[in-house]
């Protein structure tokens, strides 16, 4: 009998090729997702050394970080920013030269790396998934090990199909009970980070457990695991269950027929054993979680929508200076109600919240209404061409544009403002993305992280409102 193992232990063991003497291990990589920003030097390194990708069937490439979200029919030549165009073109050239499969700019399947892979069944339970992007943690929603890597590691995985890793610690975050009305996966993860801080997960893989977690859809679980990185963790995980199975079934690259049965039998074991040991444990109650809004410049600077920006007296001593600096940057007064913050722009998108469920949530809130006159721009940027298509098939784009939102083409967009979508100096934005760092969404911009429903309601009202008390839900 082996001793009880955590889900992370199992995923690690399943793909451990070799243990090195220095304590690192060689981990086999099943899926490698490649985008335009972190791959050019890796391909150049490969070329310089006369190497080829180890296994092209492991790789999927797509441009997403700095693609424009308008006029996409023009393709690569339509990208007006020089550096962006060169990066997207370089990815295209490299995919052709190395015979790497690509969902190119005009492909319906193009989109944000962490949206397209699950959608296609390129991410499957039990897999190891890497990408030159920190939010690769997203894929942990499938009981897969998703790890973000740097450019040298991208080259290493291309050349060897393996990653050198040191095993992380096991951290469990349990949320028991039932989530209240208007409380989504985004609120859960923002709440967790506000409680444990952005460094709590350092050196750890987080497994999210508890009935509140298991009640989430796959979209919700992806939102949750996506932000494990904001809690400092290397990866986030949710155990395999019937929800996972239903989502994966019939995806283009999911196993079929006898293979499906074989796979499912294997996948059903992808959960932590009873009595498995976690190095660190946190326990939360779903009832304590209200719709959340970030007020500061770190994803831990978060409060409930009906609360206020912290008062100076309430600040923890070791963080007081940082928190006051954040208030200053955000142009907020200590003790100011969250609902009094006037918004300039609204962004629904990013690998955290740009899936069909998110678009539906927005449509439901804004149906028959119109964005406030004080809102300069409200963007909805679907995560992939297929999400866009499905939303249009459901008529959601009509509802959303009738309410005054702009309906765009897929990409990272205003999440990191590498394309033309951005905030300007001093502007406040209700954003469904994952990072509220200074200038992340544009120089001098002020980001408030929220759920899609909260962003939608804020667009209608021009300021934050408590979605759990809104009639339209």
């Amino acid at each position: 009998m082996t001793s009880p193992r955590t889900l992370y232990d199992k995923l690690w063991d399943r793909r451990c090729v070799k243990q090195n003497e220095d304590g690192t291990s060689l981990i086999y990589i099943d899926r490698h997702i490649v985008h335009e920003v972190s791959s050019a030097q890796a391909f150049e390194g490969l070329k310089a050394a006369g190497r080829k990708p180890w296994r092209t069937s492991a790789i999927i490439a797509t441009p997403d970080h700095n693609v424009p979200t308008t006029e996409r029919e023009k393709g690569i030549d339509g990208i007006t920013d020089d550096t962006s165009r060169i990066q997207v073109k370089t990815l295209d050239d490299n995919c052709n030269a190395f015979e790497v499969p690509q969902f190119a700019l005009k492909d319906k399947r193009q989109g944000i790396v962490h949206v397209i892979a699950p959608e296609q069944g390129l991410t499957l339970p039990g897999m190891t998934v890497v990408c030159g992007d920190s939010h690769t943690a997203t894929h942990g929603a499938f009981a897969a090990l998703g790890v973000g890597i740097g450019t040298s590691e991208v080259e290493h995985v291309l050349a060897t199909q393996c990653l050198i890793q040191r095993k992380a610690k096991n951290l469990r975050i349990d949320v028991s009970g039932q989530l209240g009305r208007g409380v989504t996966a985004k609120d859960v993860v923002l709440y967790i980070i506000s409680q444990i801080g952005t460094a709590a997960g350092t050196g750890c893989t987080i497994e999210f457990t508890g009935d509140a977690i298991y009640s989430l859809s796959m979209e919700g679980r992806m939102t949750l695991c996506n932000m494990a990185i904001e809690a400092g963790a290397r990866a986030g995980l949710v155990a395999y269950d019937a929800t996972t199975e239903a989502y994966v079934k019939d995806r283009p690259l999911a196993p079929k027929g006898a293979d499906w049965d074989k796979a499912v039998a294997m996948w059903r074991k992808l959960k932590s054993d009873d009595g498995a040991k976690f190095d660190i444990d946190y326990f939360f109650k779903a009832e304590d979680i209200r719709p959340q809004v970030s007020w500061g410049t770190s994803p831990e600077m978060v409060v409930a929508v009906d609360a206020t920006v912290p008062t100076v007296a309430s600040l923890p001593e070791n963080k007081s200076a940082d928190y006051q600096k954040a208030m200053q940057y955000m142009g907020l007064e200590p003790g100011q109600p969250i609902t009094s913050i006037q918004l300039d722009r609204v962004f629904v998108g990013s690998c955290t919240n740009s899936r069909i469920e998110d678009i539906r949530a927005v449509a439901e809130v804004v149906k028959g209404k119109h964005i406030a006159p004080t809102i300069k721009q409200a963007l909805v940027v679907p995560g992939s061409g297929l999400v866009k298509q499905q939303a249009e098939d459901e008529g959601l784009d009509k509802v959303i544009t009738a309410a005054g939102f702009e309906w765009r083409s897929p990409g990272c967009s205003m999440c990191l403002a590498m394309n033309a979508d951005r905030l300007y100096e001093g502007e406040h934005c209700a954003s469904t993305s994952n990072r509220n760092f200074e200038s992340r969404q544009g120089s001098g911009g002020r980001t408030h992280l929220v759920s899609p429903a909260m962003a939608a309601a804020a667009a209608i009202n021009g300021h934050f409102v408590d979605i759990s008390k809104e009639a339209a839900l």
Partner: protein, 213 residues
């Protein structure tokens, strides 16, 4: 990577602690898609009087006459001598590429930032941590005249005509440099093991290997 056994070169004394990766290569150059060709931008803020980015032709920029690396006497240096905590700050590997592309082969300092130190070995640059007294001695020698040293990795020694010092280095890293093995080459030594693992996986989980397009 080229094997590194012995290197003889001129010492460039850069008498400063905490030289961070932004000073080694400013952030505007991260926009480049290249892995090579960063040499002209090494220590950019110090070397040039006017600002620049990836699109500015270097020939049109004004060099700072007060920066020693711009002097004909020092331009061909290949052994960088600095103070504590060299390579701190952002994790950008581009900083190592800039040093390498300029022509530096060795960096001597009392201590290095962790990630920078690791990145050096991925790119064939040899960082050597030496005791403060040795660093002091080297600074004194290089300031009075042009100093050439030979760094011998085989014997782990640094010597001039008159002096000799020993240095320590992790054995596996030393071997990899001696054989010219970058991390990828090291992993590829296990290619058979990886293939065997992959073959078993193909039997157990064939869906992992489906062609995507």
């Amino acid at each position: 990577m080229k094997p590194f056994t012995q290197h003889t070169g001129q010492v460039y004394p850069f008498d400063r602690a905490n030289i961070d990766t932004d000073a080694i290569l400013p952030k505007q150059y991260l926009k480049s898609i290249r892995k090579f060709g960063y040499g002209d931008w090494l220590f950019d803020d110090l070397r040039y009087l006017d600002g620049g980015d990836v699109t500015t032709p270097v020939s049109e920029r004004r060099k700072n006459p007060d920066f020693l690396l711009n002097h004909a006497d020092y331009a061909a240096s290949s052994v960088l001598l600095a103070r504590d905590n060299f390579g701190c700050g952002s994790s950008r590997e581009h900083a190592v590429w800039a040093l390498r592309d300029y022509g530096f082969a060795v960096v001597l300092a009392p201590s290095f930032a962790d990630i920078f130190y690791n990145n050096c070995f991925k790119n064939g640059l040899l960082p050597i941590a030496l005791p403060n007294e040795t660093i002091d001695e080297l600074f004194a020698m290089s300031q009075s005249e042009k100093l050439f040293v030979t760094v011998d990795l085989q014997t782990q020694s640094i010597f001039t005509e008159t002096h000799q010092w020993h240095f320590d280095i992790d054995e596996s890293r030393r071997q990899n440099l001696l054989e010219g093995l970058d991390e990828i080459s090291v992993t590829l030594k296990d290619a058979d093991t990886i293939h065997a693992f992959e073959d078993k996986l193909k039997q157990a989980e064939p869906w992992v290997f489906q062609n995507i397009l």
